[in-house]
């Protein structure tokens, strides 16, 4: 199922159960998949029009009134565009707002560099106390939605809108602050978040055929990063690769490096190499950004060689 559909269904369920849940968007209800909920909850869903800053601060006001607002827009407009509103109206003021940025990084495809949020995690990660989460499949997203809603604080979720390969089993137990070890290994750890997780598992399987044992850890929550799991796995394998659909400056790579500050372990990044996006479909963009499965395998070999 499309991730936006899973998100909308989960939101519908939350709104049915909890009359404090509200939803605000900025002329992207259709794109976010939530348009269909408006008729059902006319007094709790508001389209703010193309005015994201106002949307963010209105959400803070609603939160101060005891409501649990969710706000949504495309990734750059839900983050960089409203960075000060997120910092001051929402987080500094101690509010409880869930911020959803859709189509992060290269998944904005033909909308190009203006719409490809390649710096959203970096932009928001230095705001103290804000939680940053990125689901990898519909099972994890479905499990996460009620947890995010109940979490007393603000969370930014970067959400791929279309269908993604299912990685987690149906009985998956989600912990917002605990990274998931998807595959155990001994030679290298691949820390991955979001879009490319299923591809990383495929690469790990292929490399096993070459005698390379990869541990795969899904760091679904980039802030606060689960340093305990990251350090334990990196110590165990002695080499690491980070894979993310984001600038390698400020995102998962930076978060993992920060966790490993006192460890002498090589960490090789796969992700967007400090550049803006451009138009194209995902396979093309993975090629030009150096994010193909072969690039991941190459990074793994490099990390092992650096041990």
């Amino acid at each position: 199922m499309e991730m936006r559909k899973v998100y909308a269904n989960a939101l519908e369920e939350l709104m049915e159960k909890d009359d404090r849940v509200c939803l605000l968007d900025a002329d992207l209800g259709k794109a976010s998949g939530t348009m269909g909920l408006r008729e059902k909850f006319p007094d709790r869903i508001y389209d703010c029009g193309i005015a994201e800053q106002n949307m963010a601060s209105i959400a803070a006001g609603l939160s101060s009134y005891g409501f649990k607002p969710w706000i949504e827009s495309f990734t750059p407009f839900a983050t960089r565009r409203i960075c000060d509103q997120v910092a001051i109206s929402i987080v500094y003021a101690g509010q409880n707002v869930k911020i959803v940025g859709t189509d992060p990084g290269i998944s904005a495809e033909i909308n190009g560099g203006t719409h490809q949020g390649t710096d959203d995690v970096g932009t928001l990660r230095s705001i103290p106390g804000l939680v940053i989460f990125e689901p990898v499949d519909e099972v994890q997203l479905k499990a996460a939605m009620p947890v995010l809603n109940d979490y007393e604080g603000s969370v930014y979720m970067r959400l791929f809108r279309k269908e993604l390969p299912v990685v987690f089993p149906e009985d998956y137990k989600f912990d917002l602050f605990k990274a998931d070890v998807l595959r155990e290994g001994t030679d290298v750890t691949i820390f991955v978040t979001g879009l490319l997780t299923a591809d990383v598992l495929e690469v790990a399987k292929k490399l096993a055929g070459e005698g390379i044992s990869c541990e795969v850890v899904n760091v679904h929550t980039i802030k606060p990063v689960d340093a305990e799991t990251v350090i334990a796995s990196a110590r165990k394998t002695g080499a690491a690769v980070t894979v993310e659909n984001h600038n390698i400056v400020g995102g998962l790579h930076s978060a993992v490096l920060e966790a490993l500050t006192r460890e002498k372990i090589p960490v090789v990044p796969v992700g967007i190499k400090d550049r803006f996006g451009e138009v194209g479909r995902i396979p093309y963009l993975r090629e030009v950004m150096g994010m193909t499965n072969e690039d991941i395998a190459k990074a793994v070999r490099e990390a092992i060689a650096l041990k």
Binding site: R44, A51, N54, G61, S64, Q85, I88
Partner: protein, 274 residues
């Protein structure tokens, strides 16, 4: 006690509060003293003993740097002892330069990044409409703050959603840090702009005349059952009540104020009144 007397106390406490520290946003605090007195002592349904009372009226000081003026009003209203005003901006204080709802009893919204508090007030007014609890939401913006684009995003939304429970005020004291508002980036015709954005507009000739302010707030409240939010434009004097501060013009936005100067200013306020 009549409002005029209370307002003198609030104004004197602003001077004491900032004077005890030696520096602060004195101009925009003094210009708002009458409004804050009317709101906290006449207009608002609030309870200092129960500062989080459900369904209470709310006040958002979107020009967050007027925090010391709000603190003076809150202390006079009994939210905390007046002695606490002397802790302004000292390390560990509950009274920071700009309003902080996490720190200060009676503060309904954190503000300081201009334009944002007004949108928050719109969100609060929307929240009250959803909750159907009959609260009135009051918000104060600065005339310089009016230059922020977010003010107009919020203005558009509030009228589109018919948030008649929102009563906003512009402290039209004519100055911002760099000079005269109309010279830095003109905001006039202000009343026409708000009317064009779908707001009911009330203009107060002297926003430092407590009777005029009181009447305007009563008039504004008559619109709560209508379908438009109300903007009250208060023509005020920056630094109002102390001649030498008024004469500083834009420089009184944030200036030094020694305790001796504050004491002399208090005598002036007590002696002359307004």
């Amino acid at each position: 006690m009549d409002l005029k007397t209370i307002c003198k106390d609030v104004r004197c406490d602003i001077l004491t509060c900032i004077g005890s520290l030696g520096t602060g946003h004195i101009g925009g605090c003094l210009s708002a003293a009458e409004l804050l007195t009317v709101l906290y002592f006449e207009a608002m349904n609030i309870d200092p003993e129960n500062p989080k009372m459900p369904g209470r009226d709310r006040f958002v000081c979107s020009k967050g740097h007027a925090g010391p003026a709000v603190y003076a009003a809150l202390a006079n209203r009994g939210y905390f002892p007046k002695e606490e005003l002397l802790t302004l901006n000292r390390g560990g204080t509950n009274l920071p330069s700009h309003c902080d709802m996490k720190l200060t009893k009676g503060i309904d919204m954190t503000t300081g990044s201009l334009g944002q508090g007004f949108s928050c007030a719109v969100g609060i007014a929307l929240g009250s409409k959803i909750a159907k609890d009959g609260a009135t939401v009051y918000a104060l913006i600065g005339d310089g703050e009016t230059q922020e684009g977010q003010i107009w995003e919020a203005a558009m939304f509030a009228s589109a959603k018919k948030l008649s429970n929102l009563i906003a005020f512009t402290d039209r004291n004519k100055f911002e840090i760099d000079g005269v508002v109309e010279e830095v980036n003109a905001i006039e015709p202000l009343a026409d702009k708000w009317a064009a954005f779908g707001w009911r507009v009330i203009e107060v000739e002297d926003g430092n005349d407590i009777e005029q302010v009181s009447e305007a707030v009563k008039h504004a409240k008559l619109g709560i059952d209508g379908d438009k939010p109300t903007m009250v434009i208060l023509n005020t004097v920056k630094g109002c009540g102390v001649r030498w501060i008024e004469e500083l013009g834009p420089a009184c936005h944030n200036t030094t104020l020694t305790m001796e100067q504050a004491q002399a200013a208090i005598l002036e306020v007590r002696g002359e009144g307004r």
